[in-house]
Symmetry: C2
Subunit: 372 residues, 2 copies
């Protein structure tokens, strides 16, 4: 078995022993990949490319005929079981074969409907199988990244930055937000991205005051903020960066807002180290923004983990406190949003190391003013 | 209120009365849009752009600050409630305000974890609120389409067909499956698609024997089957079509397989009418393929509904029997898959009418041989 998967499965098996579970059913797509290498994707929320069943001594990947060959090729350490009439019908036999009494499941992914159907089906096994909700068993492992995972993230980020440089050189007043978003997507895909981490955000002028803006037909105007938030997926890992630009000469209060955001970000980054609290790091950026008179204009959390998913643990947030550990990759993305004027957000990705932080973005100085 | 939404909500309210529910919590993205016009998207399986609460007299859209302005703009008939610390914290107050005792929820979407959290939170209301699982309350309405929905689907299909014509004219031996898939995606997007219905499938030679093939770096070879399955999303509605081509002169047994699949499809289409059984329509294609000696080479169902989701009810399937009704849009997509050689699938989209069927695809004759 691949050493990476062996080590991850060993850790899951320790947790199973601690929780007195005979096996874990893994239905979250990223968790399946993390433990097996299987890349089958759930096409819709109500569709599934299969589940892993990890017991103390056995590894099963149950899926349907569409994914059978792919599962065998990608997950050679798992016994692939192909179900014809849905998992519900086959689960009792699989559980009996694996001699399972207590079966953990991922409560954040399993629907109420499937839980009820599986629980009922498992009552038919003798002795009956108990379904036990679990949370974060695999996600907790995914929080800290190996060197290979950090490198995969850096590769995705370099690709995304290259796409940005290419597109920025072509941005002119009069282009629409949608055009720029599509140019960014094309550039990433043509540079070899397997996909986007999330739909590209391009927001100009007042639209940039919405942290979650959707690219529109609004045309770019000189002197206004132009916010671009984008990420590439490469080798399954996600990048996530934001830059705010101005075409031509920035109008007030852009420079003041921009400088405040960048300094808030860099102060927060300087405070990150193994053992730091996510809430304290968030507070450093938030307090600086507050001190500069924009206290109520930064309405979201400071950052989040990235990896196989673009949003994962840990959070840098005023609400939920996560302890930072070496190997965690997080975004640091303060913003100031002034309704009817616009907003500035500047986001880097960093990896926590023992006594500090390593910024993953290109270290070249960033000048927000373009086209002058 | 928009007449379309008014009529849909009236039908949901009738169902609530039948089920003795005081309200329905709608968390499926397509269902939210169908009843309200709100297009907020759930970015990951564990993220939500909000829920609708439909009671006999009130309409609430609960979401977080990222979607607040969008929700107000798109769903003017709903009272938008913005939660700060997650729905779990706010749901008791919302339920109390709406005077709810029995609250229906969508059991196929709500996770076991959120169900447990909401159920616990709702116990704090006086009198306590009971959560009641429901299935298909909105989906059953979505199965039959209005003229506007049919037109939206036709518009998406015309766009997808135009993209296909453009790309087919450029296909040459030596191009990779991935290149063709990306060209298809670019063509759809540049013609104005809001997105894809699903990732484009391009499968050549032996790869086309996998009904669920993922585009690879395999290069197109003259004489082999080249299967393309693609769809565009436009105005929220999905198209879905498959064509199988050959570059140059087809090698045996292509023509025989192709003719069998096309006739199986067209015989099935000829049997569709309001009142027909999905399983019987499936059987007509399946029997014809069987009679021609390929009985075990057609391993999937004949078709599925399309609409706001690319896979929705009804099914044309040997396993699950759905009654066809006027206004339903379904795909008809038999295939014959010969391991190590390749496969042929030909898929049209049709709308069921009272005494027959209307094929939505371009009626021009299709010649699978290109580049001669």
């Amino acid at each position: 078995m691949n050493a990476t998967h062996r080590s991850r499965i060993a850790k899951i098996r320790e947790k199973l022993a601690d929780l007195e579970l005979d096996a874990l059913m893994v239905s979250i797509q990223e968790n399946r990949y993390y433990l097996s290498g299987y890349t089958g994707e759930d096409a819709q929320f109500d569709e599934s490319a299969g589940v892993l069943l990890v017991s103390a001594s056995q590894l099963v990947l149950a899926t349907d005929s569409r994914f059978d060959l792919q599962a065998r090729a990608e997950a050679p350490d798992f016994e692939v079981v192909c179900y014809r009439k849905g998992l519900e019908k086959e689960l009792p036999a699989i559980a009996a074969n694996l001699d399972i009494r207590r079966l953990g499941f991922e409560s954040v992914r399993l629907s109420h409907k499937n839980h009820a159907a599986y629980a009922k089906a498992l009552q038919t096994v003798s002795p009956p199988v108990e379904l036990v909700p679990t949370e974060n068993l695999v996600e907790d492992l995914r929080k800290t990244k190996s060197e290979e995972e950090i490198q995969a993230t850096v590769d995705a980020l370099r690709l995304a930055e290259k796409a940005f440089s290419r597109v920025v050189a072509t941005i002119r007043p009069g282009m629409t937000e949608k055009q720029v978003a599509w140019d960014m997507e094309k550039a990433m895909r043509e540079l070899g991205a397997q996909g986007l981490s999330f739909p590209v955000i391009v927001a100009s002028g007042p639209n940039s005051a919405l942290p979650h803006a959707i690219p529109s037909d609004r045309r770019i105007v000189e002197g206004e903020p132009l916010l671009i938030d984008w990420g590439a997926r490469l080798n399954e890992y996600c990048s996530d960066t934001t830059r705010t630009l101005v075409v031509g000469k920035p109008k007030d209060p852009f420079q003041n807002v921009f400088d405040t955001v960048v300094e808030a970000r860099d102060r927060a980054i300087a405070a990150i180290r193994a053992g730091a609290s996510g809430t304290e790091v968030d507070k450093i950026a938030r307090d600086f923004i507050d001190k500069n008179g924009f206290g109520d204009k930064f309405g979201h959390g400071l950052g989040h983990g990235t990896g196989l998913a673009v949003h994962e643990a840990p959070r840098l947030s005023p609400i939920k406190d996560d302890l930072l550990e070496a190997g965690m990759i997080v975004t640091v993305e303060p913003g100031i949003y002034l309704p009817n004027w616009g907003g500035v957000r500047m986001e880097n990705q960093v990896v926590v190391i023992q006594d500090g932080v390593r910024v993953l973005n290109d270290p070249a100085p960033f000048n927000p003013c373009i086209g002058n």
